[in-house]
């Protein structure tokens, strides 16, 4: 018997208002979403509809103006900055559109960055870092710097980095946005693989083909959820 998966994310009536001088920009106008562990969610919608804003809130990079957010059953609003840092470091993995690798560090060092803030001995994780580099196909590039890699390779380093701390959930904001369709496909296949291993994936994308890979597509419009469809995997 398959047990019912737990709800990992539960946001209720989330509102995010940006104050730009005199003008109030209402990026999110009351969003309710619950995401179960192990699901693969694609967030779609026109530009400016609030996708990135929502993902940043889900990733505890930003705080909502109002509304409730329970991450793994805990109320995020009550957590202080240090606790949020720990959650980001231990439970979440980020993949950004612009890779966001640290330029002065090598591939292997970039993969290690999340470990630096967990107080672990890096030596104990050397094997795991190499394993992950192998997983993303960069085993022979460990000592290269980001500038010596192609965009696809950099994004793969970012994926390996998001996995080093064995997160519950991976948040990706247009991870293939800067890649050509072929390398984009390779990166997506890697993400599919992670989902099939049980990781929760929340990914923002503009591409319908990419969304087909997910088992749920949330369509945003003007800071609200427009449609929320569950689908059978393609």
């Amino acid at each position: 018997m398959i047990s019912n998966p737990k709800t990992i994310i539960d946001i209720r009536n989330i509102v995010k208002i940006f104050q730009v001088g005199e003008i109030e920009v209402r990026a999110l106008r009351g969003v309710d979403v619950a995401i179960k562990e192990g699901s693969y969610v694609a967030i779609m919608g026109p530009s400016g509809s609030g996708k990135s804003t929502m993902l940043n809130i889900l990733g505890c990079l930003d705080r909502p103006t109002s509304g409730e957010y329970y991450l793994g059953g805990e109320d995020v609003a009550t957590m202080d900055d240090d606790t949020l840092s720990v959650i980001r470091g231990k439970r979440l993995g980020f993949i950004f559109q612009s890779y966001n690798l640290i330029a002065q560090l090598t591939v292997i060092e970039n993969i290690q960055v999340p470990l630096l803030y967990q107080g672990v001995n890096l030596k104990d994780y050397e094997d795991k870092c190499v394993e992950l580099a192998e997983l993303v196909g960069l085993k022979d590039r460990l000592d290269h710097r980001p500038t010596q890699l192609s965009g696809g390779q950099q994004q793969r380093v970012a994926i390996a980095r998001s996995l080093i701390n064995d997160p519950l959930m991976i948040l990706a904001d247009e991870p293939t946005g800067n890649l050509d369709s072929k390398t984009g496909k390779e990166v997506l296949e890697l993400i599919d693989e992670l989902n099939s291993q049980g990781k929760t994936i929340v990914m923002v994308t503009h591409d319908d083909d990419i969304a087909y890979r997910a088992d749920r597509v949330i369509r945003m419009k003007d800071g609200r959820v427009d449609k929320d469809e569950y689908r059978q995997r393609a």
Partner: protein, 434 residues
């Protein structure tokens, strides 16, 4: 226990990270350190030179004896005038007297000893050798009042004084010039037409500053002294000294050229100075004496040194501050430049504290590195100065500690500000930074 080892790893990682990012920007780090290096170096070097100079002055004053008050006879200005304008021979009488000496001895409280001296410029001969010298008539108690090292033989004795014996003690410098090939002891030397037997040889360290330095003395060795009993000096030289000056004669009657009053304690020196002045004023109708109070000079030298240190310290503090501002400047620029990196680190689990620590370690490494190099240079510069000139330099441990401490503190203080600024950024704000 576990917690401790965890934070140790974390600290180690952060230190490595800081050093690494400094090494990535070698020029920038180097330039930042340069400010610290020059700051620290100049502080140590300046204080070492200042300390050396004032130490030398203080040593010279201390050699005069801090319980002593030195009274010199000086030719009063108006009689000097008379002497020069009138072409014919002219006798003047001035200066300290034997009466002054005994009055000082018996009326000034807390006096431990009074040493009268006659000092006569003349030439001393041994065989064919001739040397200019100072013949000093004094008492056996001289050795108790002045820093004198007996090299050979003995000093003048009460018996010599009592019997007005023609004996003398000479300084080792004079002995070396007069007697290049033999021991001077028991030899006889001649001053004017009188022969004196050499009974002792001394080394003197403290007299050069207190002898009346007459113009004609300049350029001559300072340790050409011949000591004879005061009683002998009185009978052999008389009280009137005749001097031949470009065709005219001048006669001076001076009983004593110098009186050294030794007090029992340093505390009584200042009061005694006033009492001596009052006493002498009563018996001298002209201003024919001067007082030198080494203790007073020492106090003045100390005050000057304090002033000097304050001025140097301020200059030093300013240069260190400038170095610190240099570090802050670089750190601010670095932080702005690396805001995105800070965002990434925050997104990947870095706490504010971690970011502060990272940047702080960078500044600490910079300022400690700069401070250390600065200390090394700061120690080297005074050594070079001492080696290449005859200036005395003294590197005091506290100046090294001060320079290093201030450079470290300014570096850290100016490092904390930009670092905490960087950490306060919202992760998402930092990430959006271009």
């Amino acid at each position: 226990m576990l917690q401790l080892s965890l934070t140790q790893h974390q600290l180690l990682n952060t230190v490595k990270l800081g050093v690494k990012s400094l090494l990535l920007h070698k020029l920038r780090s180097g330039l930042t350190m340069l400010g610290m290096i020059f700051g620290v170096c100049s502080v140590i070097a300046m204080l070492a030179i200042g300390e050396g100079a004032s130490h030398e002055a203080q040593e010279r004053i201390k050699r005069l004896g801090s319980t002593n008050i030195i009274i010199n006879s000086v030719k009063p200005p108006e009689s000097q005038d008379d002497n020069n304008t009138s072409g014919k021979s002219f006798g003047i009488e001035y200066g300290l007297t034997y009466d002054d000496a005994s009055r000082l001895q018996f009326t000034i409280p807390n006096v431990s000893n009074v040493l009268p001296m006659r000092i006569i410029r003349d030439n001393v001969r041994f065989n064919r050798n001739q040397e200019p010298c100072q013949v000093i008539g004094t008492l056996p108690s001289y050795t108790a009042m002045q820093k004198v090292d007996l090299v050979a033989g003995r000093f003048l004795s009460m018996v010599d004084q009592k019997h007005q014996r023609n004996v003398c003690v000479i300084t080792s410098g004079l002995a070396a010039r007069l007697f290049p090939y033999q021991s001077p002891l028991q030899s006889t030397i001649r001053v004017k037409d009188v022969y004196y037997q050499v009974v002792g040889l001394i080394n003197e360290t403290g007299t050069m500053d207190q002898r009346p330095q007459k113009d004609e003395m300049e350029g001559e060795p300072l340790d050409n002294n011949v000591y004879i009993p005061l009683s002998t000096a009185k009978t052999r030289f008389g009280e009137t000294l005749i001097r031949r000056n470009a065709g005219s004669f001048s006669a001076e009657k001076v009983e004593l050229h110098q009186i050294i009053v030794k007090m029992e304690t340093t505390e009584s020196v200042i009061a005694a100075e006033q009492q001596i002045k009052g006493l002498l004023k009563r018996f001298h109708n002209q201003n024919d004496y001067e007082l030198i109070v080494p203790l007073q000079l020492l106090r003045e030298a100390e005050a000057t040194k304090r002033m000097f240190n304050i001025v140097l310290g301020s200059i030093a503090a300013i240069s260190l501050l400038v170095g610190g501002i240099g570090i802050m400047n670089i750190m601010l620029a670095t932080v702005t430049e690396r805001t995105r990196e800070i965002g990434v680190r925050r997104a990947l689990g870095a706490k504010k504290k971690d970011i502060v620590t990272q940047f702080l370690i960078e500044t600490v490494v910079l300022s400690i590195g700069g401070g250390t190099i600065g200390v090394m240079l700061g120690v080297l510069v005074p050594l070079l100065v001492s080696a290449s000139t005859d200036m005395v330099t003294i590197i005091t441990p506290w100046s090294v500690a001060l320079a290093f401490g201030i450079s470290g503190l300014t570096g850290i203080a100016f490092g904390i500000y930009p670092a905490s600024q960087a950490a306060e950024l919202d992760p998402i704000e930092a990430l959006r930074h271009e």
